[in-house]
């Protein structure tokens, strides 16, 4: 009798399932989007939010289950024959794709559950969920892109629904303004990105990552290639809300419906990092790239500037949602260490530090989405936006405020949630890789961030209420979303071991090729 794990290791490579099923996490999200469009076609005016949110959540959970199953079964990983390459090498399924798909699916599920209340009574609900699912599909494709062309198309598939979602509250000036700003900066950075791709193609004659790496090693057009690499890095800086393309983030996150802010700042950011990791490690591999193009220094500068700017700007904000937006820029700076603390040659530290960055994104997906869902809850109740408006809220809604305190402390890196270990591993691995100064700057910024994160907690728990709250209801969906995020954040503290192991194995496989 064979053990389940033995039969499972042969899922795709042994012929138990056809090869295309390796993309099941993406396909589940895409089919959910089509199903939602179908529902919306049958009854365009439907306000049956339970059906729509339920379908979205189920689809996300199915996608998450596929990712988890494949990760456990070893699909596309070194144990079972390595990565699975599909569609003329346009897409690749490996540990990293599955890891990031799990992040996107869990964030999408939380957003869908919370939107059940947030969207109650609003128009165009079917479109909202369909666009969310399409964006999530694009994000998983970004994580699996194996050529610059599919990376660009996937990036657009993730971006275009996001623009519409940010401007979803059509009658709300802030939402429309945020959507327009996001769209304009997005269009500009997409143009820069695709221009960079064309330059790299001009130099290397290929769009496939492996061919690009090979051709870059022998090229004489170092200058053109360098400009191309720089422009492509700019495109990723937009998607991850890093300096210098971070301007859209505070506006878009503040104006967008709060669940969408959570979706963008967690899942969309992680997607940007997923594709950036793969492009820079595989296509612009440090071992093959000419001496003149040292992108590690570029990311070192970007990491330091992004985390410092994000944290200092967050410390000066008056409104909580905007503070969270700037803090998410600061967090992007920490994750950039995953690209900044790399060294040439086959160092095993490379995989470790990038894996730590991936694990941080995983934890971040829960704690940051949770924080924005709490903002969604306060918007649902009609509580104001500033820190003072939150004064004494804990006396009325202790459960939600306890969860919010957990998110804040975990984001700051205190040992109450998974954020502690993810930051610790990120900085520790940067030190091991020889970049102690990056880790030191990260730790200083992290200490500063405790100041503004604890302001929220202080307002909620310590200050007395300045005005009466009119809390009429306890919305089930929003509470459920926040609680899933809280339980996830908390459980990732004891269960961080498997996460970091999976992430570091996946990242090492990327370097091992």
């Amino acid at each position: 009798m064979s053990l389940p794990s033995v039969t499972a290791t042969l899922l795709q490579s042994g012929g138990a399932l056809p090869e295309w099923t390796a993309l099941a996490p993406t396909l589940a999200l895409a089919l959910t989007a089509l199903a939602l469009l179908l529902v919306d076609s049958i009854s365009p005016e439907t306000k049956n939010n339970a059906l729509l949110a339920g379908t979205t959540a189920v689809g996300s959970f199915v996608s998450l289950a596929f990712s988890g199953w494949y990760l456990a079964a070893g699909t596309g990983q070194s144990g079972t024959g390595g990565e699975i390459v599909l569609y003329g090498e346009a897409l690749v399924v490996d540990g990293m794709y599955l890891f990031f798909s799990a992040i996107f699916a869990s964030v999408a599920a939380m957003v869908a559950i919370a939107s059940y209340d947030y969207l109650a009574g609003k128009e165009y609900q079917g479109e909202f969920y369909a666009l969310t699912m399409l964006a999530a599909t694009g994000m998983t494709l970004m994580a699996s892109a194996n050529s610059l062309a599919s990376a660009f198309v996937a990036l657009e598939l993730a971006s275009l629904p996001s623009y519409a979602l940010v401007a979803f509250l059509k009658k709300n000036k802030g939402s429309v303004e945020a959507g327009l700003k996001y769209f304009l900066i997005g269009a500009l950075s997409s143009a820069i990105f695709v221009f960079g791709i064309s330059l790299v193609y001009a130099v290397t004659g290929s769009l496939l990552f492996s061919d690009v790496a090979e051709a870059l090693g022998e090229t004489e057009l170092v200058g053109v290639a360098g400009v191309g690499v720089l422009m492509i890095a700019g495109g990723f800086a937009f998607k991850t809300a890093s300096v210098p393309f971070h301007f859209w983030a505070p506006e878009a996150y503040e104006g967008a419906p709060a669940p969408i802010s959570g979706f963008l700042s967690s899942a969309s950011k992680a997607a940007g990092f997923a594709v950036a990791f793969r492009v820079f490690v595989e296509a612009f591999s440090l071992s093959a790239i000419p001496e003149g193009i040292n992108w590690v220094i570029l990311f070192q500068i970007l990491a330091v500037v992004t985390m410092t700017l994000g944290n200092f700007a967050a410390a000066t904000q008056d409104t909580v949602k905007r503070m969270l937006a700037y803090s998410s820029i600061g967090q992007a700076g920490y994750v950039l260490i995953g690209l900044a603390a790399l060294a040439g040659g086959a160092s095993s530290q490379n995989g470790d530090v990038m894996g730590a960055a991936m694990a941080h994104l995983f934890v971040y997906g829960f704690m940051n989405t949770g924080a924005f869902l709490f903002i969604a809850l306060t918007e649902h109740w009609g509580i104001g936006r500033t820190f003072e408006d939150f004064n004494g809220l804990a006396s009325k809604a202790p459960m939600a405020c306890a969860a919010m305190a957990l998110f804040m402390f975990s984001l700051a890196g205190l040992p109450v949630g998974g954020g502690f270990f993810s930051k610790y591993f990120l900085f520790a691995n940067a030190v091991f890789a020889g970049f102690w100064w990056l880790a030191a700057l990260g730790a200083i910024n992290s200490a500063l961030s405790l100041f503004y994160y604890s302001r929220v907690v202080k307002a909620m728990w310590i200050e007395d209420a300045t005005s009466e709250f009119e809390i009429r209801s306890k919305p089930v969906g929003l509470y459920a979303g926040i609680m899933i995020a809280a339980v996830g954040t908390f459980l990732l503290l004891p269960a961080f071991g498997p996460i970091i192991e999976t992430a570091q194995t996946a990242a090492s496989a990327l370097f091992g090729a």
Binding site: L37, D40, S41, P44
Partner: protein
Amino acid sequence: MNPWIAIGALAVMGVGIPLGMMAVSAILRPSVPEQGKSAIYESGEIPTGTTRIRFNIQYYMVALLFVIFDIETVLIFPWTVIYRSALESGVGLGKVLFPMLLFIGILTMPLVWAWRNGAVEWVKSPRATSRKVEGES
């Protein structure tokens, strides 16, 4: 001789002849300003109103739907060319026909959605409606 000289000469002639013709006719012709000459030309109709009117935003939706299916045609065309020879050389129907049906199916789904949500339903312009009411009364 440098072949670019011929192209340069063609460019000089191409720009020079029309400019020269306009200059010569401007010198020779008498100037008779007249209102009919400066009026908007609407195929012989008497012009009504100005050009600064609002277009219906629906043109944009129709154009968007058109672009999608225009590109679909471009992708279907090479498929039709290889379809028969692929079947004759023994590639199964599932591999030749099914992916294209899936592709068209995926594109049809949003079309149905757009149709049901009123993208191709022609809204009556408020101006036309008001004029009609005025005419009846």
